[in-house]
């Protein structure tokens, strides 16, 4: 009996409810006669698509800044990198020069610009967060919103030559959603794209087994990111960072510069955010600019909390479980709901309730414990 209770405590009530809900949805959809193949493919795709964004929460939580609602900074840096890289590749006529390689070069350049920008912005952001210790989450939420609003102005003022990015007639401002079909969209995850554009020796990047699509390239990238994070928190720097997040006074007395560790953690989180949004766009096939990323930070925060993380502690297993459950519910809910009652927006409503409910629950847990 005691053992059951410990297991129950380890899983936690919200995770248990949401997990059961997910299992229920999957069973219902199978009973209702939906094809298991596409369903499973969709869950897998969405899971990996959001995975790195959720992973970006770990350095934030571990270094002590809490849930990084300001991941929008990293997202904006990533988007900026993608947009600039696409424009450069268009101006340099990469498609003719490099053929199938141009998509890879564009992706690499996007990642490079994104990571560099995110590193700079993240460091500055870390400096700010050190000044507002204790209120990081409130401040970062609104910093995140402000950045998205600021980027709206930036997107609107760019005048780019690339027709896939800019509005066709006005010549000023970027599109709301820019297709990546001619660029790096789907080159790691979409079997059709891989087959049509890539040489035969790269066809393993994405393929179909039965009805299930395996985006092996994306899986490898996600696994690599997880591995880097895992390795990082086993390095000296990573351990010092976790210590700084756990107990500031103790860490300071053992000679570690807590503020610096927090800045590094914030920068790392922001960089992962930039990588995350580029991989997201790659999988989705479109770049979403303007207000689309406004609430993405909330989804990432909710995911890692569902996975079992708290404001003080987060692990890679939390990322894997959380992203799977959260995205899994959203994917499976739509067809099931449509079968029962025809309200297409219900999964969206569900997303709002679940994500904010879980964040609220986590906040009440930590703050309530301090009383």
């Amino acid at each position: 009996m005691k053992k059951i209770k410990t297991i129950f405590d380890n899983i936690g009530l919200p995770r248990l409810i949401i997990g059961l809900f997910f299992v229920g949805l999957v069973i219902t959809s199978l009973v209702l006669g939906f094809d298991a193949g596409p369903l499973f493919s969709d869950v897998l795709r969405r899971w990996l698509m959001y995975g790195i964004l959720v992973l970006a929460m770990i350095p934030g939580v571990q270094s002590g800044i809490g849930l990084n609602f300001g991941i929008s900074l990293g997202i904006s840096a990533g988007l900026l990198g993608a947009v600039l890289s696409m424009e450069i590749s268009y101006l340099g006529n990469w498609a003719e020069k490099f053929g199938a390689g141009s998509a890879w070069l564009t992706l690499l350049l996007a990642l490079t610009i994104g990571i560099v920008l995110a590193g700079i912005v993240g460091t500055l952001y870390g400096l700010l967060l050190n000044r507002v210790k204790g209120s990081e989450m409130t401040v970062s939420t609104y910093v995140g919103f402000s950045v998205i609003a600021f980027m709206n102005i930036v997107w609107l003022s760019f005048t780019f030559k690339n027709g896939e990015l800019s509005w066709p007639l006005q010549g000023k401002g970027l599109r709301n959603t820019a297709s990546l079909a001619g660029s790096f969209g789907g080159i790691l995850s979409n079997p059709d794209v891989v087959k049509n554009t890539q040489p035969a020796w790269l066809h393993w990047l994405a393929f179909r087994v039965g009805g299930v699509t395996i985006p092996l390239g994306l899986i490898l990238v996600f696994a690599l990111c997880c591995f880097i994070v895992w390795l990082f928190f086993r390095s000296k720097l990573g351990i010092a960072m976790s210590a700084a997040g756990e107990n500031q006074l103790f860490t300071r007395s053992s000679g570690i510069n807590v503020d610096r560790k927090r800045i590094q953690g914030t920068a790392f989180s922001t960089i992962l955010g930039a990588v995350g949004i580029i991989m997201y766009a790659q999988t989705y096939g479109f770049l979403q600019l303007y207000n689309a990323p406004l609430m993405m930070g909330f989804a990432a925060v909710a995911s890692i909390l569902i996975g079992g993380a708290s404001v003080m502690r987060a692990k890679i297993s939390h990322v894997l479980i959380g992203a799977l459950l959260f995205q899994g519910i959203l994917v499976t809910a739509l067809p099931v709901v449509n079968e029962v009652i025809e309200i297409g927006t219900l999964p969206e409503v569900l997303r709002i309730i679940i994500s904010n409910g879980i964040i609220l629950y986590a906040l009440s847990k930590t703050k309530g414990g301090n009383q």
Binding site: L128, V139, F145, S146, A149, F150, L350, L360, L363, K367
Partner: protein, 483 residues
């Protein structure tokens, strides 16, 4: 020496009001760049002040009680919107429909405010982030109610407001023939009549209580009733009655009346202090300066351009009266014992606890008041705007109200009526001129729109960061002394 002192005072004044001043400069710049006609701007600003100020004023009490900026007013707005939906669904119209809304929204808001207050007591120190998330969460439940439960669980049948499948409420509900201008269009004559009967009942009750020896009937009671009765009697004089039939007044008239009232108040002050109380320390300079200022402002109205604007713009009266009453309420409640308790709780919870104040209860009460006021504010907003966008009307409420309050110079710990009023004025001026200014400057109206949104987010981010910074400094100070 005196000059130096004055400069110093001016310096601190400028520093304390830096946000407001910076914003005023941006506003003036935007007005000049936009080249919009003045009458258009003034008209827009007046409309928006009437529409939004009540909600902004609802934020003040939680700030006083130490709960910070109440992002949870979204929940008050939701209470109002549930009431509006049912009132429209049942087919009520005009002021009657508005009263139904009020009767439904108030208890709902009290319940919601109670729950939010309870939750905030569990998360002391994290009220703002909790309120923000709670707002999103409540929005999700609201959507569930309006999209699925109404029609899906509760049977409803009204093709004009329900989606054709019979489940869920349409995106927008037109209020044109039922609630639009239900508050704006209340005539003065009706207000006076209602006020008279209300006073009559109150006075009668007091008189009965006096006879029962439970209350001593005082002279002011009789005088107050007398004044109302005289005004009520005056309203039967045909000329005045015709004038009172109006529900809106031209701005010029309102301004004139306001200036006269302010002037008379100052004269009353002088007479009271100098002649009755014989207060030697009383300085004449301030009231006389105010009177002269009123005179100058009145004189300015004779400039043809100003007069044109003042004559074209009309003010709906009741919303502005309600706003004035709420200002008065915010002011007066601080003088009561409850208000004092709130202030103590706001300054230091441990001190409040030590002096025997029930901290949790005070905080819950503050949240209830704020939520109820926010729901009333949303009713005023919806009846003025005339179309109820079912899934969008409440989403931005907290953000815009808080940004407006902060623009007026308020902070997380201090907010006053004056800051709220100035903030609404500045914030909504920018709202009106920003698109046109963006168009003239960058040939793109959308850019002005985005700039405005950026400002509203940015000002909140900035003031939250400054508040947090101050808190950290405060914490650091004693430790640095120790070492």
């Amino acid at each position: 020496m005196k000059n130096n002192n004055f400069l110093k005072k001016l310096g601190t004044y400028l520093f304390e009001n830096k946000v407001m001043i910076a914003f005023a400069i941006v506003c003036i710049g935007a007005i000049i760049v936009s080249k919009s006609p003045m009458s258009f701007i003034v008209d827009g600003v007046i409309t928006r002040i009437g529409r939004n100020t009540f909600t902004v004023l609802a934020l003040i009490i939680p700030v006083v009680a130490g709960l910070g900026l109440n992002f949870g007013i979204v929940i008050g707005a939701i209470a109002a919107q549930i009431a509006v939906f049912w009132s429209v669904y049942w087919g009520f119209q005009g002021i009657q429909g508005m009263l139904i809304c009020l009767l439904m929204a108030t208890p709902l808001a009290i319940l919601f405010g109670f729950l939010v207050g309870k939750l905030f007591n569990k998360m002391k120190g994290a009220e703002m982030i909790a309120g923000l998330i709670l707002g999103f969460f409540a929005d999700g439940l609201y959507q569930l109610l309006f999209l699925v439960i109404i029609g899906g669980v509760i049977p409803v049948d009204n093709p004009t407001i329900i989606i054709s499948g019979g489940v869920g409420v349409k995106n927008t509900i037109d209020l044109t023939n039922n609630l639009k201008y239900a508050i704006d269009s209340v005539r003065m004559v009706d207000m006076i009549t209602i006020l008279f009967y209300a006073m009559l009942i109150i006075t009668a009750v007091k008189a009965v209580l006096h006879l029962l020896k439970k209350y001593t009937f005082k002279k002011p009671d009789a005088i107050n009733f007398g004044i109302i009765a005289v005004i009520f009697a005056l309203s039967y004089i045909p000329v005045i009655e015709r004038w009172l039939f109006a529900d809106r007044l031209v701005l010029l008239q309102v301004l004139t009346i306001a200036l006269i009232i302010i002037g008379l108040l100052q004269v009353y002050k002088i007479v009271k202090e100098k002649l009755i109380n014989k207060n030697a320390n009383f300085l004449l300079a301030k009231p006389i300066f105010t009177i002269i200022l009123c005179g100058v402002i009145y004189g300015l109205t004779y400039i043809p351009k100003v007069e044109d604007v003042l004559l074209t713009v009309k003010i709906p009266l009741l919303p502005f009266i309600l706003i004035a009453l709420l200002c008065l309420f915010n002011q007066k409640i601080l003088d009561t014992r409850f208000g004092q308790n709130m202030r103590t709780v706001g300054q230091s919870q441990s001190v409040a606890m030590a002096s025997g104040i029930n901290v949790d209860r005070t905080r819950v009460l503050a949240m209830i008041i704020s939520t109820v006021l926010a729901s009333w504010g949303q009713l005023i907003y919806l009846q003025n705007i005339g179309t109820f966008s079912t899934y969008g009307a409440h989403t931005q409420i907290a953000q815009f109200a808080i940004a407006a309050l902060l623009v007026g110079g308020a902070s997380v710990q201090k907010a006053t009526n004056r800051q709220a009023l100035i903030g609404v004025l500045l914030f909504h001026t920018l709202f009106i001129v920003a698109p046109q200014a963006g168009k003239n400057l960058f040939d793109n109206a959308q850019l002005g729109e985005y700039f405005r949104v950026f400002v509203s987010y940015g000002v909140i981010a900035l003031s939250l960061a400054m508040h947090a910074w101050k808190l950290v400094k405060k914490e650091m100070a004693p430790t640095s002394q120790d070492t």
